[in-house]
Amino acid sequence: MKIERATPDAVVWRALGRRAVDVARAAGAGWADVRVGCVETENLAIRNGRVATLEQVESVGFGVRVLVDGAHGFASGFDLTREEVERVAHLAVRLAKAGQRAGPERLRWADEPAWRDVWTSTYLIDPFDVSLDDKLDVLSRADEILREKPAITATGCSMSFRRESQVFLSSEGADIEQVVLRSGAGITCIAHRDGETQVRSYPAAFGGQFLAAGYELVTSLDLPGHAAALREEAIELLSAAPCPVADMDIVLGGSQLALQIHESVGHATELDRVQGWEANLAGTSFVDTGKLDGFRYGSDIVNLVADATVPGGLATVGYDDDGVRSQRWHIVQDGRFAGYQTSRDVAHFENHDRSRGCSRAEGPWNVPIVRISNLSLMPGEWTLPDLIADTDDGVFMDGVKCWSIDQKRLNFQFTCEIGREIKSGKLGRLLKNPTYQGITPQFWGACDAICGPREWLLWGVPNCGKGQPMQTAEMSHGAAPARFRKQAVGVRG
């Protein structure tokens, strides 16, 4: 196991950061923190036999956040000079003071020890050390296999790597240096014939699988080795039967269940959202604070755990962007709502004296907001074959295709890439556009079987949008296939 060295530029970043904090405090900030860092990314994609993306990006920047008598100010910049850092620190204070004119309410800030630490994510092979030739070779071989049949009209094979290095300093004395590395890869193909279009992706939609890991993830996925089966599934879907319209049992595969967790539990239990901070964009939540008294979120077997310490999780960090040490806690325990995802400025709404450590920003130039942690459905004891054998009349669905959920996270409708009929305990014919619709607590309340640890996998979400201005965050959701009784399947006509 290779342990990442400390950030090479941390000495300079730390000096500039200290200056920012000092200037902000001198200008009147009761609290000040600064993040200085660098984000490096590499994106490769082959589409239809042609290299469509091969880009390396590195961005350096910093963000200064202050509280002045409880009013918030944040400013960011990209010129790492003493003059610019001082200007931005003054600007943050000026923003906070001006903001006081907009209303009398003030933010309350939960306590946290002033940690001093160096933390790095773990990996085996640094993807930035792997040659572009090797990476393109993997993608090209997969793409060629996908394009072997004329019914495949579009392909996409991609890899993505990201390293985020950052120093966090606060006026309380926190000094945290972190390096987080993540990798991702996947393949997708579109089949088209006679006006019908179908898509299949491996190992998941939207770029594939993403983990806080190195190039070993790409190797383990064996993209070329899965391309032929994927291609045949996409073609077979063109002539598949339509999804039935009926109330019936559904068994969701892990990647679809990850999305279900994300949309109907993850966002619903962000406490800033519950408080209306996101009301003007993505909405609020049905999980108001009155539901902390044991609201029935799901059946007794439903346990959903947030965990910013789980190995490989995209939201796994040593400390969040408030300087709060990572934690593990239940969101839903034995079917009952148990707690929110919080940052230091909303923790008090839960009557909790400490933040859960969910404050993250897309790079140092963006303001930290509450983001979903790694949130997972704890495994049960079933195996998938036993679960299918136990289902009399249902549909197995997997692969995210279309998703939509209302502004309080209640009414959702999801369409998967692939479905299979389940009849009398056996998997049957292929079904295209498998769709189910439900209301969140009723849906989780109908969960009566969850597969075990052998089929449990951590699925990465690399594209979660939230906030104004919009930021993208990454997190993971662990899930094993699970069954939900009597769901509304198909689109009602």
């Binding site: 042609r50 400013a75 209301i439 006509g493």
Partner: protein
């Protein structure tokens, strides 16, 4: 911070550093001031600055690209070297067009930047939230300004820059179980009427305070501009580009010259429309031309970049994405031609239907018919005998946009610059559509 001279200097540093056969430099400077508020107090007062220099090079028939968010001479030189390194490891590209040379046809926009003024912004927020409080409502929203400077230069002599300025306000208002929303976008601060935005949102919230359930099913709908843009966004992504028509995935594939919508529907892409915002050149620096896409219900054109233009023997319309791109050309500034009258006039023509303020989380179920699903939001009302009679709980629709455009029963005269949850702006009026398919309902 917005400094076109610095952008030019960085571009020239890159061009001088590069020994590639062809080099393109794209410089972006972005500055945003935003006050984000909720429950009548600000939760974020921010100014953020972003910069990006992207360098694309061609070496021995190979193409590479690298970018940096650090706009210094040293970082730009390093980025050029990385781009060349990437190119050397690429396979030889197939068809490769020379970078565009300097051309005519630009009508550049270079307004004065909108300077951040957090005091002025906070005062405006206080006035809006005060108005909401006076009416017994709570508010959440954002108000701010943004400046987006973009410069593209290349080794074939092209150099062009413009500045897109946007002042914006977006306000969600709550009154009991009722919700309302309104927004405004303009190139200048004084182009916004915050008071009118607040009045509109408050009016919706109060009017929708006690919603009843109505059963899902087919209704005539009157969609306000924000709801229309949430649907039309998917036609922009999946329908109006030449590549999508060529590969058969567009609903317009094989139908150019045929009727594809009701005759009252005319759609064009026009970055110079007086109500719109955005950059006047595309991702390769080519000026955007107005393109008629649907005229009186008949499909009549698609947008092109240089690659699709060459393939089909026509001229580019200036709709390339930044290159290289997985996507083909896309429209950037859709304009749906208005009819006459106000939303109320459309309502008067409906016996029984639903008035929709906004759609939420609209997404695509199926691409060839543009089957979409999403939720109503922020003010949904029953129409009976030509009159809005009562608020109703929000419903989910699952509806083919292609079919909906064929069942348009009326076009309003109230065209407005509207956005959607996942981005994009377009100028659209209200629409009345028959037989719009609601498939389920929610609890509020």
């Amino acid at each position: 911070m917005l400094d076109p001279e610095r952008a030019r200097r960085l571009a020239h540093v890159a061009l001088e550093e590069s020994r590639a056969a062809e080099t393109e430099v794209s410089v972006t400077q972005y500055e945003q001031e935003l006050n984000r508020f909720t429950a009548d107090h600000p939760v974020q007062n921010l100014v953020r600055r972003l910069a990006r220099v992207a360098v694309r090079v061609r070496v021995d028939g190979r193409e590479g690209k690298a970018s940096t968010g650090t706009p210094t001479d040293e970082a730009v030189r390093r980025t050029v070297r990385r781009a060349v390194e990437v190119a050397r490891r690429m396979p030889v590209a197939g068809e490769i067009l020379p970078l565009p040379a300097a051309q005519e046809g630009y009508r550049l926009r270079r307004p004065d930047p909108l300077s951040p003024d957090p005091g002025q912004t906070a005062d405006a927020v206080a006035r809006m939230t005060g108005l909401c409080r006076e009416r017994g409502c709570t508010a959440a929203g954002v108000k701010g300004v943004a400046n987006d400077l973009r410069l593209i230069a290349n080794s074939n002599g092209l150099e062009v820059w413009d500045l897109d300025t946007q002042a914006n306000v977006s306000l969600s208002v709550f009154h009991g179980a009722g919700a309302g929303w309104a927004s405004g976008v303009a190139p200048r601060r004084d182009g916004l009427d915050d008071g009118a935005v607040a009045e509109r949102a408050v009016g919706k919230a109060i009017a929708s305070t006690t919603p009843d359930s109505v059963p899902p099913g087919d209704y005539t709908v009157v969609l306000e501009p924000a709801a229309v843009s949430a649907l039309l966004l998917f036609a922009a992504y999946k329908g109006f580009g030449a590549q999508q028509v060529h590969d058969g995935s567009s609903f317009l594939a094989g139908k150019i010259g045929e009727r594809v919508a009701h005759e009252s529907i005319s759609i064009e892409d026009d970055v110079h429309h007086p109500q719109t915002v955005g950059h006047v050149f595309d991702g390769e620096g080519v000026p955007r031309a107005p393109v008629s896409l649907i005229a009186n219900g008949v499909a009549c054109g698609v947008v092109h970049d240089r690659r699709t233009a060459k393939r089909t023997g026509c001229r580019t319309t200036g709709h390339a994405m930044p290159q290289p791109s997985m996507m083909g050309p896309l429209p950037s500034n859709l304009v749906l031609a208005p009819g006459t009258g106000r939303t109320d006039d459309l309502v008067r023509g409906v016996d029984r239907g639903v008035l929709v303020t906004e759609f939420h989380y609209t997404n695509m179920v199926e691409p060839t018919r543009l089957t979409l699903t999403g939720m109503t939001r922020n003010g949904t009302f029953l129409i009976e005998n030509g009159v809005v009679t009562r608020p109703v709980k929000n419903m989910r629709f699952t509806q083919s946009l292609v079919e909906a455009l064929g069942r348009v029963a009326g076009v309003g005269g109230d065209a407005r610059l509207s956005g959607a949850l996942f981005g994009g702006h377009m100028v659209v009026p209200s629409l009345a559509i028959d037989g719009f398919h609601f498939t389920s309902q929610t609890e509020f």
